[in-house]
Amino acid sequence: MARIGVFVCHCGENIGATVDCARVAEACRKIPGVAHSVDYKYMCSDPGQTLIREAIAQNKLTGVVVAACSPRMHEPTFRRVCSESGLNPYLCEMANLREHCSWVHEKSDVTTDKAIDLVAMLVEKVKRNKPLHPIKVPVTKTALVLGGGISGIQAALDIANAGHKVILVERDPSIGGHMSQLSETFPTLDCSQCILTPRMVEVAQHPNITLYTYSELESLDGFIGNFKTRIRKKARSLDEKLCTGCGLCTTKCPNKKIPSEFNTGLGMRTAIYVPFPQAVPNKPVIDREHCTYYTKGRCRVCEKVCPTQAIRFDQEDQIVEHEVGAVVVATGFTVKETDFFPEYGYGKYKDVINGLQFERILSASGPTLGEVKRPSDGRVPETVVFIACAGSRDPAKGIEYCSKICCMYTAKHAMLYKHKVHHGQAYVFYMDIRAAGKMYDEFTRRAIEEDHVQYIRGRVSRIYERNGKLIVQGADTLLNAMPVEIEADLVVLATAGVANEGAEALAQKLHVSYDSHKFFVEAHPKLRPVETNTAGVFLAGACQSPKDIPESVGQASGTAAKVAALFSMDELTREPVVAVVNRTAPPLYSTCVGCFLCQSACPYQAIEREEIKNRNGQVVKTIAKVNPGLCQGCGTCVAFCRSKSIDLQGYTHEQVYAEVMELLS
């Protein structure tokens, strides 16, 4: 027979002023199974807790209902009190008299009646509660970092420096990401590569970091603390141990006319190549799509010239497997191409380029060695038009968001252009200048005031070419929308920052959510910005939304702190509020019929298949099984199960039904 204790809290005036707490305690005393019922001013205070402790001991209580505030704050408090008194903590429930009753109603008898109902429901539930025990899972103290841009580098270094193993996976032949392509960085105008390359080298040399470049994630299974990952190491066609990075092969390769990805198509590279001089690792790869040996079956010049005989034409992709405890996703973003803009010529004008291309033109390591020359004819542009919001904040183009970084880099571009071409004229068409950040607004003001960049508030309607000039048709909305037509030599579109190609497929492999723009979604926009809905998978940098360098680095360090905190424990303790598939006596074994509709409904991939075998080892039935490591206790599967074969521990059908029936009675 149940012996339930009811403890009604006044929460000072919070509940006491509206609800007649004494009457609630009095009424609850009459509920069958209630052995003890009292009210008290502050149940969470020390004397209040003592009250509960003593009552459990004296009345041999089998369950406790604390009628007080939201369980968010004090459920752990009261469960601890029960636990200390020898009662399983999951036999304690809270009725929320504050948020659900006193704060939302006027003082009246009906309000008190409702409070009594709320407590009575919980009493019926607690009568059916079963002792539960926290779930313990071990933690593998190795982190997987996906993406070797500045965010991935930062996260990897921070985790490695905290003493944990890191596996860093980068899709391209070298780490460095977009930051390695930039010329200078705002608002300080310091050289991007100069501050990045030491970090890249540190990654390569760190004893705790295993680096896989030219590699991609194949799969990720398991759950927090216990992931299993498979990584595809694409064939470099080269024995990395033998290669010294002398670079002879890349200079001798006869196939020199391949648009360089690193130089955004503005420069050329060879078929065997290192993407840029500071690459880490400084070992080439053979681009099999373009290599004459792979396309036509002859050449092998690189093989002949290699002093260490490192070339391996027959090398195959390799799959490596690792067990990891946490994942940091730092796969970055990309920018829209200029062919995204019909009104700006569908990408057919060579001198209409995007911001990343202009970075390469400005960069000392770029195709023009840092001299500003336009792509079509190599002339120094005398008039350059920069267009902000090219694709961003443009619902018609399907991108309604602000790409955040363009205002700043456009100001930087215009400034650097003026620094290099003193007599040149720079125009910036903008809608708003979004320069919120430390020293950011000062930076854009400097472009206008010191470098005399002409800012025109308005969007460009059209660009067309005439006699080697680009006619930019805009309007000045601060001057009664007066038409403005500029004959430009070069136009730089600050195109929208968008999710990487393949982001969706990656998100599905990682089981993380993504938004309609394929950016990965954080667990909470304010309070859990670096976590995802999948426990143990964290987000850093622009794969979550466009971000500048400081923000990406900050977020990366945030993920590292999360990972380090996770790795500080040998075991994870998890709430036992998980779903369980029932088991019954043979020949049924379980009422589950194995339709597995719960499997597709589960947001956490927590449902597995379990084969039930008879004594002879034959499979007699395949039923669903919930992996308690992955289950988040959301209850979706419970709602879907037609045969009511799944129950959520702590919220079983029987418990919830009893609560509802109590309310209806």
Binding site: A507, S513, Y514, S516, V521, L588, T591, V593, G594, C595, F596, L597, C598, S600, A601, C602, P603, T622, T636, F640, R642, S643, K644, S645, H653, E654, Y657, A658, M661
Partner: protein, 266 residues
């Protein structure tokens, strides 16, 4: 008809199947299922407009499974039921042979992919009387519709013939048999009847192949098939998916998608 008998006979003779589940004449002008186990019996198989039972209901039954690999005489709804059952992991590839009927022809199908192809090119519209009845219901005001179903469902005496006739009702323990807690009251009172039929409609949402067998089976002629058909049509319209079309189907109502709107969560 002869083509059907011939195919059935061959299937048995060539050991492609051990038992043919089909239709034969019963008493009083009604059709009944027949389980043909020898080639000689194949002549009892028949096929006409009165064959409204969904024979897919038998394939999961243990007593039928004991007879060995079955071949199922399958007009379109039966075939769709087979595919839906396969999508719900109730049948495995190769466990079943299908003698699909359409336009008086018999097509032997053994692979799921063949069945999917067959279904895809066959029109799946509802019978005109059902379509009209649904349209009539749609035109009613919510009050009128409430009245209508109130009067229809009050008559139900919970014989569960609808459940027995439905190939999708294959649970080894039905919710109505669950008494801890007792979800659906056992007696046939109006509230309990409502609960039963609403639950049945919800459980079939996104799964009903619109065969109408439940309505045909009802001894009181309550048109309960309209409930599930209407839900199915709505799902088809809203989500584009249709039950019983593909084995690897995205179950419209039970597939979590990150793109699903979560605007109800603050």
């Amino acid at each position: 008809m002869e083509a059907l008998q011939k195919s059935a006979r061959e299937a048995l003779e060539n050991h492609k199947a051990k038992v043919i589940i089909g239709y034969s004449e019963g008493s009083g002008g009604r059709m009944r299922p027949i389980f043909v186990q020898s080639p000689a019996e194949a002549e009892k198989l028949t096929w006409n407009d009165r064959c409204t039972q969904n024979l897919a209901v038998y394939i999961a039954k243990p007593e039928v499974q004991k007879l060995g690999k079955p071949a199922l005489v399958a007009p379109l709804p039966v075939l769709r039921a087979v595919l839906q059952l396969a999508s719900e992991n109730q049948i495995k590839e190769g466990d079943l042979l299908v003698l699909a009927l359409s336009d008086g022809r018999v097509t032997e199908l053994s692979q799921f992919s063949e069945m999917e192809e067959f279904v895809a090119k066959t029109p799946t519209h509802l019978a005109s009387k059902d379509q009209e009845a649904i349209e009539r219901l749609e035109k009613m005001t919510p009050q009128e519709r409430w009245q209508y179903w109130q009067s229809e469902l009050t008559r139900c005496f919970k014989c569960y013939a609808c459940r027995a006739a439905c190939p999708m009702c294959y649970c080894s323990r039905c919710t109505v048999e669950c008494n801890q807690p007792q979800w659906i009251p056992v007696p046939a009172h109006p509230l309990g009847n409502w609960e039963w039929h609403l639950m049945r409609a919800m459980h079939l949402a996104g799964r009903c192949v619109s065969c109408g067998a439940c309505g045909d089976a009802c001894p009181l002629d309550i048109p309960i098939h309209l409930l599930t058909m209407k839900v199915e049509a709505d799902i088809h319209r809203e989500f584009g998916s249709q039950a019983g079309m593909k084995v690897q189907s995205e179950h419209a109502l039970s597939s979590f998608k990150v793109q699903d709107k979560e605007n109800f969560i603050i």
